[in-house]
Symmetry: C2
């Protein structure tokens, strides 16, 4: 019995996927039940890292998603279109879908899962978050007994590499980005990574799974790492923190899906926190639930091998189901998308968190009093105020607050920007 797959895209991950499927020795015996039946590419002329039998490669992607012989479509093209349309056509043709495409799922998940439910097919996406780290399936299948309190993670390897290098080398963002681009860890246009959009796509997907409601991608508050400076990394270190780009989904009291915080931003993480030691291109995702407590998943978040491992695990998952069960009217609710409603996401102004802010001031003794007054006026209570250095003839004062409402904190900052003693407020970062 062989199950036929149609692969869309033969880039890095596609090639890695074919390499696994063509070399099953020592891997799951179920791999032998899978046949690479068609592979859709843009050009037949290009040299490929894998050998495929004649007739498998084609540039006619539409013919793949409508081919009645194919059981599973594996979409590894990336990007929004034509990926979205091809996925929808595959579903309309009753094909199960495996995808690594976080962007398309984060934006069109509602459309894709509604169609999949109607057609009674599975759409699996383990590779979309955390590369080879199993996180999607554990959230769907292993953690459902829990009331999830938070999911927070380092889910973008590029920015974690950049922040790690800035930390260990004391270098500035621009230098390290250029180096990362040379090494192939960052794209020529690095915006999706460094501005946090990739991490936002991923946390939207994780939140939807963990909190049992659909999530609108535009509800994710998103700040990237361009504003993080070497000097803030140094001061954070002195205060006992490392700076990481965290993607956070957090439920407040009560039914979490009605009161969800969703955000991506550089964050001061206490050095003894499990996520503080996730360095370089590694990813780490920490899930907290009741009665589970904390569990963390750690590994390489990108790269051909890890991502292909996740893609093939999804293919195996579907093959295992097809192998064992008659097609019935119902999908396994643990593997399909069962929620119809949207999570209600709290506006960032209502977020309560700790803040770190760095001030450049002309007059230190006077200014600390002014700072304290302004913060006090807005119900912002301070954990520490430290004069930590000098720059451009000004004293640098670093403030760490207790938990405060973001709106109150911003109002206090706006008031302080009017103070004569304060030259500027170069950095404002959130603290875990």
């Amino acid at each position: 019995m062989a199950f036929k797959i149609g692969l869309l895209g033969l880039g890095t991950v596609g090639t890695g996927t074919v390499a696994i499927l063509q070399d099953p020795l020592g891997r799951s015996p179920l791999l032998k039940e899978i046949e690479i039946y068609r592979v859709g590419v843009r050009s037949l002329e290009k040299t490929r890292g894998v050998d495929l039998p004649t007739g498998v490669l084609t540039t006619d992607l539409d013919s793949i998603v409508s081919d009645p012989d194919i059981d599973i479509i594996v979409e590894l093209m990336g990007g929004l279109e034509p990926a979205r349309s091809l996925i929808l056509k595959a579903i309309a043709n009753k094909k199960h879908v495996v995808t690594a495409n976080k962007a398309v799922i984060a934006r069109y998940g509602h459309e894709i899962y509604s169609a999949a439910n109607e057609a009674r097919v599975y759409v699996l996406l383990e590779a979309a978050v955390g590369g080879g780290i199993p996180i999607i399936k554990p959230l769907k299948q292993s953690l459902g007994a829990n009331r999830i309190q938070s999911i927070m993670g380092i889910v973008n390897g590029t920015t974690n590499y950049i922040l790690t290098q800035m930390t260990t080398e004391g270098a500035d963002f621009g230098e390290v980005l250029a180096e990362a681009q040379k090494l192939g860890y960052a794209e020529a246009d690095p915006s999706a990574d460094v501005d946090g959009y990739d991490a936002a796509d991923k946390i939207a997907i994780l939140a939807s799974l963990g909190f049992g409601g659909r999530v609108k991608r535009e509800d994710v508050y998103c700040e990237g790492i361009r504003q993080v400076s070497a000097v803030d990394i140094t001061y954070a270190d002195k205060l006992g923190f490392v700076i990481k780009l965290l993607a956070i989904a957090e439920g407040l009291q009560g039914e979490a899906s009605e009161n969800l915080q969703l955000r991506v931003h550089p964050t001061l993480v206490p050095k003894d926190h499990p996520l503080a030691n996730i360095n370089g291109v590694y990813n780490g995702i920490l899930v907290e639930g009741d009665p589970l407590g904390q569990v963390m998943f750690y590994g390489r978040g990108a790269g051909a091998g890890p991502t292909a491992s996740a893609v093939v695990s999804d293919i195996l998952n579907i093959v295992g189901i097809l192998f064992s069960s008659e097609v019935t009217d119902d999908l396994d609710p643990l593997l399909s998308c069962v929620h119809q409603h949207y999570c209600q996401v709290t506006a960032i102004e209502n977020l309560e968190t700790r803040f770190y802010a760095r001030f450049l001031c002309y007059d230190v003794p006077g200014v600390i009093g002014h700072l304290g007054m302004s913060f006090g006026n807005h119900q912002v209570s301070l954990e520490s105020v430290v004069q930590i250095g000098f720059q451009e003839d000004c004293a640098e004062i670093v403030v760490v607050t207790h938990n405060v409402k973001e709106g109150n904190f911003r109002a206090a900052l706006a008031e302080m920007e009017q103070l004569e003693a304060i030259k500027s407020i170069p950095s404002v970062l959130r603290v875990l």
Copy 2:
């Protein structure tokens, strides 16, 4: 549609499981499809932490496993008998089984899984290893695309707590054990934990899943932590290591299931290794595969809440399958036990690893030459030889070897024990 479960045992984990099932708000919607139909206990008189409707509690466990109304048996009694017999009876009566019982699976897994395959039922055991950490299902379902190279972990919270306390407090094994017993982290008879048997049960199960062959429990080489002394922890620290009780399954070249290393022993772990920072009662399991690279799973490895979370996730898994598919003749091969052959396990003498040994010597300048000679005679090459302290008027010399065959290393030690300059060899530990 309600699926009926019969629970065997209402201790800590059983009570935790009932608590989750009775309070589904904010958890998986599928929980509402589950009915606690019978709970088997030893005594009806005992006060319980949960309320159950009249008639649910019974002391007649045999009647539960043969009740035609029950779909899933959840075995949470622990121990070998009557757990084994009840599981087998449940299977014979075509009931799916969820168990947290690592001892019974590690010893009677072959019998239980053969019976389950014949009866076409699932036996799931997520709670048997790593408490609430999803590790069994990821190994079965998410990592099968990989050629697994190694699984190594800190899988026993009691010993990890003891070693962590010995490290942070500089205290000796006996003191810390007594304290752990007081806190409820160690049993009155601590042997299953401190002698490594519990960890050996767990690595036997993980190895079987990761390497695709059955594993005989008695093939696991097992050393506990009683021999680990505060002084070795201090010296290890100076050399850049922490001491952890690791459970290790490692494939050698070629088909891993034909050449498997299986062992539990205290190990010097380099401080920058992902497992070095797993402290206290936490567990961490590191899986390395091709093309995946390393992934690590981290969380609380025991306790009512985390373990019940894993038990309920298995129940949900089966309910999800029952919900969606007709009963056919085949089980999903990713969730059942498909291998019939046994892994061939390499004898510990043939293991190649690094060693740490501590010598008490009378005469330092002479003895280092003698040590070097004896090791050289047996093809043991040394990484470092350090005179690290004094004790009982003797010099303490610590040796760390390169990778050597265990048999050669032992032969060299036997030769050195005859040397007049050497008083004793108080510690021999393996190094990762």
